[in-house]
Symmetry: C2
Subunit: 201 residues, 2 copies
């Protein structure tokens, strides 16, 4: 059994399609989602759309109050360009996400955890870099006595390349959410929207 | 600033004394505690005793419902000897504890996280082994861009050696809690009690 960390964003939705395409049955794939007080909590609506469409097992962890010091949380102002997206770093987010997924994977007998970090995000987000992911993979492998692996198949792909892969897999990108503001429509101005628009253009 | 993961058990209480003894001021040391639905939640009473005695900053995270598949949680029967303590493993516990402490350390500017895992526990608990801790240390160092380190100074010490160190540091062991049952008194029979008794004898 595989456990996919799913946000409802473009990368993780393509990842989910890719994992399903590489599995014998949808019954081999479950998803794990996190409500952590993100301003763009709306992304979870899209995550759930996919789990329902594919009839996947899913779990949502409530991590409200877990994270601190990020423009993605609470009332802090959001940066409006992709020159300096560092205020949108959520310290420890992927470390906690992977660890929580790991605890569940070990308890319930999953053999692998998938996370959809991409190459473009490495510059700003330290927890999307290879050395970080390798450390977590080592820790998980050891903690599980070799039973659970951490997989990050997109870590060396640009968002543009992920979109191309998604097109091959017939992903409906309209059913993904990127905008950090979480309004009625995706704003098209925030860093996440700009990154999305560039990749889709 | 240093952040010590404190359970109220023998190892982490000695660790706290040791960190304080190696710090310029008690104001340089804070503690982080976890309520995760452990049967021996009573350990936190002892953890709080020490934070109050030393006037330390402290935080308690509520992780009830986070972990699964352990005799330390819920109604599952507890093993009554130290031959097979494996049912008391809490899958992913130290991985999540370190990651949550990491997220807080990065957000609030701590420079190091201390965890009191010992050599004896390596046999049964995979998340007390060096290779696991090294993986987490690497991940934390990378996620924090070199700002936060993970320290496990007791990882190569037996519980007996930790007790000896505690005696040098004048630790009042009566103000520590080991028993997995969490009753009025420590039972003296469970694996945690037996390990404690052997180390103190």
């Amino acid at each position: 059994m595989k456990l996919v960390i799913l946000s409802g964003g473009l990368d993780s939705v393509v990842l989910l399609h890719w994992v399903l395409a590489n599995s014998e049955s949808n019954a081999d794939v479950d998803t794990i989602m996190f409500d952590y007080g993100q301003k763009h909590k709306k992304e979870l609506v899209y995550a759930k759309y996919w789990t329902q469409l594919f009839n996947l097992g899913s779990m949502v962890y409530d991590l409200n109050g877990m994270f601190h010091d990020s423009a993605l949380l609470g009332d802090r102002a959001m940066p409006y360009n992709d020159e300096d997206m560092s205020p949108t770093v959520v310290p420890g987010r992927n470390m906690v996400f992977i660890s929580v997924a790991a605890s569940r994977a070990m308890a319930d007998g999953y053999s692998s955890i998938y996370i959809g970090t991409n190459k473009d995000d490495r510059k700003v987000y330290p927890d999307c870099r290879f050395t970080f992911l390798e450390g977590m993979a080592t820790a998980l492998y050891k903690a599980s006595e070799g039973k659970v692996s951490l997989e990050y198949p997109f870590a060396n792909m640009t968002k543009k390349q992920i979109v191309e892969l998604g097109m091959q897999l017939n992903v409906d990108f309209d059913k993904t959410w990127s905008c950090y503001l979480g309004g009625d429509k995706q704003c098209g101005v925030c860093g996440a929207c700009q990154s999305r628009i560039k990749a889709l253009s």
